[in-house]
Amino acid sequence: MELFETPLPGVGVRYEFTSAAGDRVGVIVRRDARRELLLYDEADPDACRDNVSLTGEEAATMVELLGGTKITERIADLRHEVEGLSIEWVTLESGRGLAGRTIGDGRIRTETGSSVVAVIRGEQSIPGPGPDFRLEAGDVALVVGSIEGVQKALRLLTT
């Protein structure tokens, strides 16, 4: 898939490509986090038949709906590689499970054999949190281990 990039001075950057079905599609990445989705006209290839203006948040939602980020894809691929390997995300809720307590408190490694390999807190990603890492409500934990181990760990983290 060939992606064409054209700078739009004063606005941002425009990307466009032709889909396998023959539609010409584009996205304008504006500097103020807004995005514009462009559908080019067949009759007049330089003009847009339609365009959709999206705020930054709407664009992020579109990304999720359209199939998730590359990271999730790569994790899915990883699951194929190692039989019996489970990788799961879980969001900690306030007042339940390990919210407010450290990973070591939960004894996840000892009890379940799986590990919390990363924590996402808001905009920040913390890879390889140690046993002294204190989890908070709203954190998203990435748990890796055997299928049963991960299920047990998820229960520990959220109940």
């Binding site: 001075p9 425009r14 330089d46 003009a47």
Partner: protein, 387 residues
């Protein structure tokens, strides 16, 4: 009426008079702006009209606030150019120069020459002719960018051609303004050439420094507090503009170069915070320009202004068509690109304002006002109705 025009009664204008006049002026601008938005036209021509109607030869005289409006107009120009510079990153500018210099050159020759020759035909001083050339050359980035955004044409292929041409024009202006300032001062040929060279060097160096160190400077000046950001950016800009003016490089260009140098977060935040301030002082600038023109001076220059408008619309249409064709755009896109270059606006008035302030040529102001009124409105309609 007597409140606004009280000659001889008060030696020093009282605060109340200043406030009343300013309030009235700003409200007039607001009404013009609302009407313009309702009708789908840019607001600049309406601001000009308001200034024309309120200026010399009108029943209402702005006495107390004239000093403030004059200073406000100067600040308006600086802010207009600062915000223009903030639109672009140094990388966009250098990329623009490298890839579009030929189109920029064609654009300049095609649309500067008619203005210059027109001035000569009218019997004007050569320096005034140069200014008129600049007035007919520069397309209004403000009007065009807003139109393209409103009409959802930012995604169109021909839009990148149009925007690149606008970038080139803004770069040419950065050199043109200091040159014009030098010519107005009336230096000898040697002095003038040296000043031109100095201006070119300063602009080139500023761009180079922006490319290398702009990011660092931007980080240093940035602040999450709007108050600090405003104070820092405005302080830096006014200081740079003043120093640039002293160095004969023109305050407007100094402000533009500061805007170009700032990029990243500070540019984003700065644009959001400064646009409203620019709009207020920019409005004062347009009204101030109109105030200086006697409406009765307009009819005599109507014919030359209309002729210039027609010729330089054709030159822009030709330039746009050719540039779009060169970029591989189809016939409909070429038409849209051609129309998009027609509107004239804020920059032409800036150049005319420089000429009027220097007292060069009586008819420069009226011709410019007529010309911009015609093409701001006519050009916008052309863009809107070219599918």
């Amino acid at each position: 009426m007597t409140v606004l025009a009280a000659p001889g009664v008060l030696a020093v204008s009282s605060v109340s008079n200043i406030l009343i006049e300013l309030g009235a002026v700003l409200l007039v601008l607001a009404i013009c702006g609302r009407f313009a938005a309702r009708v789908g036209l840019p607001s600049i021509p309406l601001y000009l009209l308001a200034g024309l109607l309120l200026g010399e030869g009108s029943p209402v005289a702005l006495e107390a606030s004239s000093e403030f409006i004059r200073i406000g107009a100067d600040l308006g120009v600086v802010l207009l150019l600062l915000l223009l510079g903030l639109e672009y990153t140094p990388e966009e500018l250098s990329h623009g120069i490298r890839t579009n210099w030929l189109a920029g050159l064609v654009d300049f020759v095609a649309s500067f020459t008619p203005g210059f020759l027109g001035g000569l035909l009218l019997g004007w001083d050569p320096v005034a002719c140069v200014l008129l050339g600049g007035i007919t050359y520069i397309t209004s980035s403000g009007i065009v960018a807003k139109l393209l955004s409103d009409l959802d044409r930012l995604g169109n292929r021909e839009t990148s051609t149009v925007l690149s041409l606008l970038v080139m024009e803004d770069i040419v202006m950065a050199v043109f303004l200091p040159v014009a300032a030098v010519l107005i001062v009336g230096a000898s040929v040697v002095e003038a050439s040296l000043s031109v060279l100095l201006a070119l060097v300063v602009v080139a160096v500023a761009l180079f420094v922006s490319l290398r160190h702009g990011a660092r400077v931007s980080r240093v000046l940035d602040s999450t507090s709007p108050e600090l950001l405003l104070l820092t950016v405005l302080g830096t800009t006014f200081l740079a503009a003043g120093l640039a003016d002293k160095a004969k490089v023109s305050a407007a260009v100094g402000a533009f170069l500061i805007g170009v140098m700032l990029s990243g977060q500070i540019a984003e935040r700065g644009r959001v915070l400064l646009s409203p301030i620019r709009d207020v002082f920019g409005g004062l600038f347009f009204i101030f320009f109109g105030l200086q023109i006697d409406p009765s001076d307009l009819p005599p220059v109507a014919v030359p202004a209309i002729a210039l408008a027609i010729v330089t619309s054709a030159s822009k249409v030709g330039t746009g068509w050719w540039a779009a064709k060169r970029a591989g755009v189809g016939p409909k896109g070429r038409r849209r690109a051609a129309a998009a270059l027609i509107p004239r606006g804020e920059f032409s008035i800036v150049i005319a304002g420089i000429g009027t302030a220097a007292g060069l040529e009586r008819d420069l102001g009226p011709v410019a006002a007529c010309y911009v009124l015609l093409l701001a409105v006519g050009g916008s309609l052309a863009v809107r109705y070219t599918q």
